[in-house]
Subunit: 396 residues, 2 copies
Amino acid sequence: MEYIFSDKLASMKPSAIREIFKSLSDPTIISFAAGNPSPLSFPSEEMARIAADIFANNATMALQYGTTEGYAPLIEAVNARLADRFSISGDDDQTIITSGGQQGIELACKALCNEGDAVICENPTFIGALNAFRSNGAATIGVPLCDDGIDTKKLEETISSTPNAKLLYVIPTFHNPAGITSTAENRKKVYEIAKKHGLIILEDNPYGELRFAGEDVPTIKSIDTEGIVLYCSSFSKILSAGMRVGFIRGPREIIQKMVIAKQVEDVHTNMLFQMLCHRFMTECDLDAHIAGIRKLYGAKCALMLECLDREMPDFVSFTRPEGGLFIWCTLPDDLDAAEFVRRALEKKVAVVPGATFNADPAAPSKSFRLNYSMPSDEDIVKGIKALGEVAREMAK
Amino acid sequence: MEYIFSDKLASMKPSAIREIFKSLSDPTIISFAAGNPSPLSFPSEEMARIAADIFANNATMALQYGTTEGYAPLIEAVNARLADRFSISGDDDQTIITSGGQQGIELACKALCNEGDAVICENPTFIGALNAFRSNGAATIGVPLCDDGIDTKKLEETISSTPNAKLLYVIPTFHNPAGITSTAENRKKVYEIAKKHGLIILEDNPYGELRFAGEDVPTIKSIDTEGIVLYCSSFSKILSAGMRVGFIRGPREIIQKMVIAKQVEDVHTNMLFQMLCHRFMTECDLDAHIAGIRKLYGAKCALMLECLDREMPDFVSFTRPEGGLFIWCTLPDDLDAAEFVRRALEKKVAVVPGATFNADPAAPSKSFRLNYSMPSDEDIVKGIKALGEVAREMAK
């Protein structure tokens, strides 16, 4: 039988990252391709203790249906942390628990965009977000990302020339894939532009807790006086990715539509892990735990940068992140990133080609993404050495 | 700010069931309104033991990202059970793990239906499925449900007059809300009609393991030679609803599109509970556990039917389910079900009005749904007595 698919999914293919992941089943390959947190960042002993206690004393609640909005004590703990750490509060806003940060992104698009509408985003940006927008039939329009954040001049031009734009998606802090943190000035400007044009901003901040250098920059949500910013994040990078617990906060009216959309997607998020997150946040020292992750990633990032400084020819540029999981490398105009990635894989090093993160999937890219949270120190040294060789060979 | 929502979500409201649930915070109300499994059906001690073992010996896998398709050993165990219990196998098919049965329904619609397309379903049917279709912008077209299953004559007429129908959604076994199990003849006829018209069937079977009387009827999927049936189910009614683990099986090509759609919704389903389901299925006596649930629900259903026989005036008819969670009661033409539900709530008994389950939400209903898995025996006796009084008072 010949199957006919919905227009929005018919043209979608599994992402390039997934294809690269398949090659990773070869254990001799050094992977800088992952987006995974280090397993060392999972507080598994404390989680095991709390889970055992929940099973012993509150099993029925953990195993029974819950409300779509999420486990109320967890929502309260999340709100307290958002207020405390990120200056995010506001009586007109509401927080709901999502099945990972990914779901918050997808629900926001589903609530606000019709098929044929557009989402404006940084170029490059997170592939999971791009595909969430595409799966809702929305067009993805990229605006170049500069060293201080999205190019605000081009942003304004793009909004003006995109009357059906419904959402502006940004990752201002420790950008995936670019490793950039936008400045406070850039964020204010982005907010003012969105406000002027009546555009809703979706601020994605999954790495916001992972700063290992520099000073915090206020979130866009913290300066939102008009109710135009949705803020999503998750526990994936600070407690566990596999449990799928995230959250989104924003204007109550929008969040209520997202609750309806979430209800039909998965009814609610896994109860035991919602309860576990709440217990961890209120009983354990989350700040001390996160400090440990920052130290780990700070050291790994420093090592990778040190290797890049040493091994990479000068014509390869790269970002110097102050947090998060990724370094973004860019080749000169005359070298092809797709070819670089292919040659790197021949040398048993996997990196993600930059085109993967393009709003326009057909656009070329001179860049590739490196992850430092997963590889061992030994593999970082060995792998970056190999990448340096690839760059030099290609320049010959 | 005035927010503009997507067309598909703009008109959607939280379901009537949710509103009824809010009134259930009053502990003096006897609720027959739930769709929840009994907490007695959760094997919490064995689950606690397995979870502890996973945390002790395999924490990294449980807490790290997994593949969107699901945990391979669980898929294998599900496939073995589908073949063994439901005669479902086939090399051209694939099974993926979903975040509850709900997600399988939603993904099927997302993969196959454009906005403006139609899903044909039994009338009444599961409200979660109706809302999943609506949230994808699909119209829901109901075909009356008879004692032996969907009305096949009207089904054929409806398909013929609905050229944009892309999916036929049915719950052939222990129907929610109607409690009906369709006959083998009806299923064959439904399959033949769908085949003739090139329509994909989505067979939802979340209660299929919960038979406490009568004989198994072959699933529609088991007679699918053409690759036109998607089969979804979940662990919610046999292990735990709160963990959100389900599955869907069908033609590989369709399932692959659903994988892409699932990836953008939640990346993958909670890993620890996928591993836990696999361990429970392979290490514990799942059949013995399910036999216990059947016995429990069989007794509760028998008690509720006995009370209905005794307390309800003859003009109220009701189904006599052989499994599942629900009894469907129907008033005579001159009585109004919405009024019945309102009066019942005044007497502190909550039931769900039939209109909730109508494909056309504006259509009236003479019916209401009763759940027997959650209330205590005492509450069943007391609550049905009160409902009998309501019926007699309304007939005066």
